[in-house]
């Protein structure tokens, strides 16, 4: 089976006054895994439900493989879906759950059984075929749900926060398994999550949603390193807001460094602006004449995060590779920007330019 493209065209969905989806456009290439990332309530589930056919849009069209399926009922759409909540049928064991979609397709029993065994093997649960949902752990239930969705060889796989109810270790492991199965089968996949680390690690491309719209879509590197908007910048990863001054040549004076300015460029040289800087693009060096103090230091494994208070009262987060000799809390430091560019988010309101 060859993979198909998914195309959402100006999709709109209103609930009374609330606009849950606002003319959403999205293209997913055949075999691609796109992660839809966004805060709670931004319309991720709504988008997926419209794509799956559980809900009908107030405007816009849904196309799969070039065919308009907006008016096709969910039961005829041929999409596999894994839900955030546990969705296995409680009255059926794992195998019967997986066979359900094949039974609906009127497949004869021996083939159905063979296929169920095969996909249960794919998710590593052959030994649990006879278990009922209540006899399975959360992670196992979601694996069976994945197997059930894959059994029907769907043209599109939809995953709505399938890992959010699981603990961190199982989540990371299952995430890897989903990705490898998806790549092996080459199935076009939409993966919804509000966890940015999850989105960045699993997807070919990440689409960041905000208030029913797609703010930016790009590879994980693009979205992280070159966020198109301040919202994306702050939602994906952690950001510091600092004051900077625009120089004549489109460069930016921030924390004693001269960086390339990105973002809105319609500002005059000399203007004071708000700049977004990643914690790992800052450096704190012990300096008795510095203008900041380390307030807190947290060891996070491979890196250490410092909370630094500037003399004007504002705070910065600074990440450094964990090593001996990082400044202790209470130590005076000077802070320097080490990156090459920085995103201008707007005018500086009440920010004073931080001294280096």
């Amino acid at each position: 089976m060859s993979a198909v493209a998914v195309h959402l065209d100006g999709l709109t969905r209103r609930f009374g006054e609330l606009i849950a989806l606002d003319e959403l456009d999205l293209d997913v290439a055949p075999g691609e895994l796109v992660a839809l990332l966004g805060p709670s309530g931004c319309g991720k589930t709504t988008a997926l439900r419209l794509l799956a056919g559980f809900d009908y849009p107030d405007g816009g069209r849904v196309k799969v493989g070039g065919v308009d399926i907006t008016d096709v009922p969910a039961s005829k759409r041929d999409m596999g879906m894994v839900f955030q909540a546990y969705s296995l049928f409680p009255n059926m064991d794992a195998r019967t759950n997986v066979e359900f979609g094949l039974r609906m397709r009127k497949q004869p029993s021996p083939e159905r059984r063979a296929r169920a065994e095969q996909v249960l093997g794919l998710v590593g649960l052959s030994a649990h075929a006879g278990h009922y949902p209540h006899q399975l752990s959360g992670g196992q239930q979601q694996r069976v749900a994945l197997a059930r969705a894959l059994a029907i060889e769907p043209s599109v796989l939809l995953l709505d926060e399938p890992l959010s109810a699981l603990d961190a270790r199982v989540r990371a492991q299952l995430r890897g398994e989903i990705r490898s199965v998806q790549q092996r089968l080459g199935i076009t996949t939409l993966f919804v999550t509000h966890d940015q680390a999850e989105a960045l690690s699993i997807a070919d491309r990440v689409g960041v949603m905000h208030e029913g719209k797609l703010e930016q879509i790009g590879t994980p590197e693009e979205v992280y390193e070159r966020p198109a908007t301040p919202f994306v910048a702050e939602f994906v990863g952690t950001m510091n807001r600092v004051a900077g001054r625009l120089a004549a040549d489109g460069r930016l004076e921030v924390l004693g460094a001269s960086l390339k300015a990105s973002g809105p460029q319609s500002r005059a040289a000399g203007e004071l602006v708000e700049v977004l800087v990643r914690p790992e693009a800052l450096e704190a060096v012990a300096d008795p004449n510095g203008h900041a103090t380390v307030a807190e230091r947290t060891f996070l494994g491979s890196f250490t995060r410092m909370r630094v208070t500037l003399d004007d009262g504002s705070e910065l987060l600074i990440d450094a590779a964990s090593r001996r000799g990082l400044p202790e809390p209470g130590v005076r430091v000077s802070v320097r920007a080490t990156g090459e560019d920085a995103l201008v988010s707007g005018s500086a309101h009440g920010l004073t330019p931080a001294a280096p």
């Binding site: 969910a74 039961s75 909540a85 049928f89 009255n91 359900f100 979609g101 749900a145």
Partner: protein
């Protein structure tokens, strides 16, 4: 403990007196005379069959109408759930005698065709009425069952796997609200086996009507009959809860975890 003893006195006391009374025969000696007389009462047997038929049909129609309604309301009109629920209570509020009077008027003024179609048999005449009377109990117990499962997710999952609405209802929802369905069914059966006012007004001799009539004629036989009815009902309810527990425990445990 004290409550149990009190309950036992209040429940067992009358029961024991009833059993002893039913064993007193007209000739003064104790024996099973009242019970053997029951076996020879053909009218009673006939009315029991009629009532069981009505009960079965009423239950089937009630479920076929109510389960989809409850599911539909929970899925599509959650904000109207309270309104629908209060509408479903109306039959309790209307006194049965009012309903009976209305139906009697309809019965006497009905055209010959309508009479033949509906009023010629208690099955066709009483079943629709009992479906309406059972609605409040059935709606509530089914609603409780449906609310206890993750209805939307299960329905969506089944639909995306290719199931049509009948399959969704029959294979996915029904098995997982089994306890609620059995509760609704036993309440409906109990109602049909106890309703006298409407059946009597419309001149149908159902089992409860026959029971009352017999009681007026021969007291000893009537008491024997109630003892027997109690035993039968008891066994029926035990059987229903046994079926329910065996089938639903898996699903129920799964849901609780």
């Amino acid at each position: 403990m004290a409550i149990l003893v009190l309950a036992a006195i209040f429940f067992l006391g009358p029961l024991i007196s009833a059993i002893r009374f039913s064993l007193e025969q007209t000739n003064g000696k104790d024996g099973l005379g009242n019970y053997t007389q029951l076996l020879h009462n053909a009218a009673l047997g006939g009315s029991l069959v009629t009532s069981l038929e009505i009960a079965a049909l009423t239950t089937a129609i009630m479920l076929a109408l109510m389960l989809p309604t409850v599911v539909w309301v929970r899925l599509r009109l959650p904000r109207l759930a309270l309104l629908v629920e209060s509408i479903s209570v109306l039959p309790i509020v209307i006194p049965p005698i009012v309903m009976a009077a209305g139906l009697a008027t309809l019965q006497s003024h009905a055209s010959a065709g309508l009479s033949n179609l509906i009023f010629s048999s208690p099955l066709t005449a009483l079943t629709p009425v009992y479906v309406i009377l059972a609605m409040p109990f059935a709606y509530r117990s089914l609603d409780v069952g449906v609310r206890a499962i993750d209805l939307r997710t299960l329905v969506d999952a089944a639909r995306s796997l290719g199931a049509g609405w009948t399959t969704v209802l029959g294979r996915v929802i029904l098995p997982n609200v089994r306890t609620a369905v059995l509760t609704a069914a036993s309440l409906t059966v109990a109602l049909v086996l106890a309703e006298v006012v409407i059946a009597e007004t419309l001149l149908y001799t159902t089992y409860p009507v026959e029971l009352v009539d017999t009681g007026q004629a021969q007291l000893g036989v009537a008491v024997a009959l109630s003892v027997l009815s109690l035993a039968i009902t008891w066994m029926l309810l035990l059987a229903i809860s046994f079926i329910g527990n065996r089938g639903a425990s898996r699903a129920r445990i799964g849901r609780l975890l």
